[in-house]
């Protein structure tokens, strides 16, 4: 079943056409990677799907529901979460307060408490630091918090924007392990990454974005073997 379907999506930033009619989809249970250089339109794509920036034309549907007229803040309640670029945790608030805000769209307190335990089991370090102010965490810990906050809404689809950016190699591996376990738990992931090698190794399928258009798409393993891709994105 297609959980996310994007058709002929065009987005303008002022007079600049950032996305030139892209189409892609994500099947339930998949990890799909969007790969591309800086300025290719990866973050723009995620922000448009999340309703943070308006689309000019095209359509986005989530779980069979047309998102054209849905306000951004309603998506969390519908089952879509977004781990933004640069983590954007609420740095003056504690880890626990951040996590609770992730569950803002949920009404059932008992279920939220259960999800919190689940997140703590997955990220024991967040449990240890639950009363610490988020701004004092390391970059890797903040990334875990951002992922944990997204998981607090019990999402079916998680959009992840450059989760490995600015992290040490150890944390990069840890973050990709986490993405792998999310899939095992039945969460669908749409992943935007500059680290193409890592992204392709964890993804099922991938789309290559070049200056606002999709240049190539296909099975992640096949793309990894593609000569062009190896040269342009894997630095070989």
């Amino acid at each position: 079943m297609r959980i996310l379907e994007v058709n002929d999506l065009t987005v303008y930033y002022g007079v600049i056409r950032a996305l030139k009619g892209i189409s892609f989809h994500v099947e339930e249970g998949e990890i799909v990677a969007l790969i591309g250089a800086n300025g290719a339109g990866k973050t723009t794509t995620l922000h448009t799907v999340s309703g943070l920036i308006p689309m000019t034309s095209g359509s986005i549907s989530f779980d069979g529901k047309d998102l054209t007229k849905v306000q951004g803040h309603r998506l969390a309640g519908l089952g879509m979460a977004h781990v933004p670029e640069g983590r954007r945790v609420f740095s003056d608030m504690t880890v626990l307060q951040n996590l609770k805000l992730g569950a803002y769209s949920r009404k059932n307190k008992a279920e939220t408490a259960e999800t919190l335990e689940m997140v703590y089991t997955r990220f024991p370090r967040l449990k240890e630091r639950r009363n610490q102010v988020a701004g004092t965490l390391s970059g890797g810990e903040q990334q875990m918090l951002a992922i944990g906050r997204a998981l607090m809404s019990r999402p079916r689809l998680v959009l992840m924007d450059e989760p490995s950016m600015g992290l040490s190699p150890i944390f990069v591996n840890e973050i990709f392990d986490i993405i792998g376990t999310m899939k095992a738990d039945g969460v669908t992931v749409l992943l935007v990454e500059q680290n193409a090698k890592k992204a392709l190794s964890v993804a099922d399928r991938a789309y290559i974005l070049e200056t606002g258009s999709i240049a190539l798409s296909g099975d992640a393993k096949e793309l990894m073997d593609n000569e062009q891709i190896r040269k342009a994105y894997l630095g070989e």
């Binding site: 803040h73 608030m93 769209s105 906050r149």
Partner: protein, 294 residues
């Protein structure tokens, strides 16, 4: 003993400034705008209480309640009609100038409805107050109640922000609107709630102010409004405890300098101290340094 008396009067005036400053600082922190019409909400609240009591003969408690609800509605409506459409505007000056326009609009509406003449405000507080040290220290009921209400508002607001979901949403919107939206928080609704709280507090401040200085004109809101703005900047704009400390400090400085230095210079002294504080600590007493994202 007279020093103590002046100090207490200063704290009372300061409490009024603090309650107004809370509205300024909340709106600034959450909606990222300076609502220069905030002072005029005080004036509207005072006229509502005046009309309800002197003209309709209502009980003070009911009059205050009506004023709070009236100002709440006024705050939410001005935000919706005048400020929200400009939120995406390229320059933040647009909304600032609009706020100044709203300020004059409210003053002129009051002028049209109530006229330019000064109205006598009947104090809502009938308590004579207490006498201590064999009559050497007399504290008026109005003074005591003003200070008590100030503290009540501060603690109530802190509890609301730290204990409730809406309060946490306010903090989240203040820090990062985009991330708040991704968490499912309706930014527009949160800003509307902020205006509702700030404006109803302005009504309370108006009643307390007019109970101490019992006259109303269409312009009474502007000076306390400006001073409360100074108090908010002084304490660190965006900080709730900062607004409280800033307000109280300002009130005490104003009364003491009026008594011991010069009644003409007291306002100049208040602003001179603000300048000195900002030179030494540009973010105000409790303000945080905002780091620009590179």
């Amino acid at each position: 003993m007279s020093f103590l008396n002046y100090l207490i009067n200063g704290l009372s005036l300061g409490s009024v400034y603090a309650i107004i400053a809370l509205g300024y600082t909340m709106v600034y922190g959450i909606a990222k705008m300076l609502n220069f019409a905030h002072g005029d909400i005080i004036m509207v609240g005072s006229y509502i209480v005046y009309s309800a009591m002197s003209m309709a003969g209502m009980h003070p408690a009911i009059a205050i309640l009506i004023a709070m609800v009236g100002c709440m509605v006024l705050g939410v409506v001005t935000e919706r009609v005048a400020y929200r459409p400009l939120r995406g505007a390229s320059s933040s000056l647009a909304v600032l100038i609009t706020a100044i326009g709203v300020s004059y609009l409210l003053q002129n509406i009051a002028l049209l409805v109530f006229g330019a003449d000064t109205k006598a405000f009947t104090s809502v507080i009938n308590w004579k107050g207490i006498t201590l040290f064999d009559g050497e220290l007399q504290i008026r009921g109005t003074t005591i109640i003003t200070i008590a209400v100030g503290l009540l508002v501060l603690f109530g607001l802190q509890a609301f922000i730290h204990r409730t979901k809406s309060g946490q949403a306010m903090l989240a919107v203040a820090q990062d609107r985009g991330a708040a939206t991704l968490c499912g928080i309706d930014v527009n609704k949160t800003i509307a709630i902020t205006f509702a709280i700030g404006s109803s507090l302005a009504a309370v401040a108006g009643v307390l102010f007019c109970s101490t200085y019992p006259t109303i004109t269409p312009y009474i809101g502007s000076m306390p409004g400006i001073k409360a703005f100074v108090a908010a900047v002084f304490g660190g704009i965006g900080s709730i405890p900062g607004a409280m400390i800033g307000g109280l400090t300002l009130g005490v400085i104003e009364i003491l300098s009026r008594t011991y230095i010069s009644s003409q210079l007291s306002e100049a002294i208040v602003f001179a101290i603000l300048i000195v504080v900002l030179l030494v600590k540009p973010t105000g007493l409790l303000g945080k340094r905002v780091m620009e994202k590179v």
